[in-house]
Symmetry: C2
């Protein structure tokens, strides 16, 4: 089968690889209907994370072709979405809603391919009612649910977005944009998108942003405070992962408010005195997408949300290297790959 | 009147000072029935904070002697407890329960004296039903409510202590001990006190601790995990303010759990990757004692709780320097000063 490999930073190829098979009784093998490139794939691409001949991809939607003996909730022929975090969905941590930190957990890997093996299939995959959708937009939205939508959603939940709340979102990548969609769906009153890209601003508004702040850093914080009676937003989602973005998020949040951070932290250090003095709530990490997946799938099938709109470039799997370049250069928000 | 002044680190005197008067229409003057030395007073005493001729003390209980023209909720003769944080208790931040970050806020100061001026009297002071209590134990407990009980309580609330929860408390000073009492009152199932002092362990057990862990740092974390099926506590209160204590608190908390930190952060830096990877909730800062004060006063008057037990040394105000020495050398948990 064809699969995407990152040989080194900036060096992505599509190559032949062995088709995966069942190796644990809890595994399933899926034939991918679509995969995509994640913002987090850019960390190794840009050399911020070590990488050497790594099979790429952790977002996926597709048809089950084979299951291990212990798998009971999915069967060959089922059309499924799975979380990028593997989980048994039965341990105490999973039951508390943190499937991203399951005691038997891990991460899906190698989904930028024709087939992928998913461990912990029972606790990770969710069957899509009605099977594979005919509408490619619905298919793209289901793919988004696997990580980018679920991550934006978790950011908004961690920031306690909801009725009566003003929510600010730091980061206008796909996760930030979908955090806006989530904040809107959760009933937030006002949503401030922090973005300086016209195309992304337009999508932010379409997803529910009521205000746009183009300034960054301290100036961005000042602007958010001006929009919120000098107090700051009730809820702030951080969807970048850098020191500047985290400081901007904490700065833009009012005391007693909530910062949800879902950008993968890189070289971020937070002074205890800042956290003590601001007295915000801080919560984040890899999104427990499995917690939200049944609800998100239903909202997509009901055409209530259309998160697949973040895919503004669709390429055949063989063109994956061009997809990485487009995202790296911010020519594309998010790239869908068709095996 | 007599008042305690810290001239420099380690140098505390009791001296004559002007009796305070009303300077703003929102002020009240209080004749103190009791005051005390706070663990946070040890930061400047030990030279970790700058200090020069500072009037000391921010915990207080006493009788109102005078009020400004704008004060309506307390009057001369009322016996009151106030928060160490000043608040108008009407702004949006106060209404959200964060009176410690009131837009018109500040901190009480100079309560280790015979009289003190309290700004923002209406929003800061709470009248004790029934007036000054005859029982000195009740008086001591009301004094504790002003900060140390309120702070321990906030730590437990921030850590979401409650029914079904295992709560670990890092720090066996008065705040840590009262966080144990709070965790118990809030219905927690199991409470792990981290302490290596026999006397403090005894009080911890009296306040509700079910387990004692004497180990610190990584060993302490390992021990808490052993007691919690390898997962860590649901809730952890940090009541020290050092890097080691904060790391111990985060380490001892399970993923998805809550760390409430109320130790005043000194030279603490938290790696974003640790917070992302552990996926705990983190919340803390100066306690919004005013939020809890009416409830705490009632629990004290009902003899449901006896937080005044943390005062294991009672001295006349003139002996304040000895009180500071006793707390610095950990000979006393907390010192009550009688003007």
């Amino acid at each position: 089968m064809r699969a995407v490999i990152m040989r080194a930073p900036g060096d992505v190829i599509v190559t032949d690889a062995d088709r995966p098979t069942i190796s644990e009784p809890t595994d399933a093998v899926i034939e991918l209907a679509a995969a995509c490139i994640c913002g987090s794939d850019l960390w190794p691409y840009r050399g911020f994370d070590q990488v050497e001949n790594r099979p790429m991809g952790h977002e996926y939607v597709g048809t089950v072709t084979e299951v291990g003996d212990a798998v009971s909730s999915v069967k060959p022929g089922d059309f499924v979405v799975g979380s990028f975090c593997l989980s048994d969905n039965t341990c105490e941590i999973c039951e508390a809603g943190y499937q991203s930190r399951c005691v038997a957990g891990g991460f899906a890997n190698g989904t930028q391919a024709e087939f992928v093996r998913i461990p912990q299939a029972d606790g990770t995959l969710v069957v899509v009612p009605g099977g594979r959708p005919d509408d490619p937009e619905v298919l793209a939205s289901l793919l988004a649910a696997s990580d980018v939508l679920g991550t934006g959603w978790f950011g908004a939940v961690a920031a306690e977005a909801g009725p009566g709340k003003t929510v600010a979102v730091v980061g206008d990548g796909a996760v930030g944009l979908l955090a806006i969609l989530a904040a809107k769906e959760l009933g937030s009153e006002r949503i401030i998108a922090m973005s300086r890209h016209p195309q992304r601003q337009a999508l932010a508004r379409e997803f529910g942003a009521t205000d746009i702040v183009e300034e960054r850093g301290d100036e961005g914080v000042t602007k958010v405070k001006e929009l919120t009676g000098g107090l700051g937003a009730h809820s702030v989602v951080e969807a970048v992962g850098t020191q500047q973005a985290m400081e901007q998020a904490i700065g833009a949040c009012r005391s007693g408010g909530h910062v949800g951070f879902v950008g993968v932290s890189h070289d971020v250090t937070l002074p205890g005195g800042l956290l003590f003095g601001k007295e915000i709530h801080l919560h984040g990490g890899p999104a427990p997408v499995r917690r939200f997946l049944p609800d998100l799938i239903q909202r997509i099938l009901d055409r209530e949300i259309n998160p697949g709109k973040v895919f503004d470039l669709r390429l055949p799997l063989d063109k994956a290297p061009e997809g990485y370049r487009a995202m790296d250069e911010r020519r594309a928000i998010k790239v869908l790959l068709q095996p």
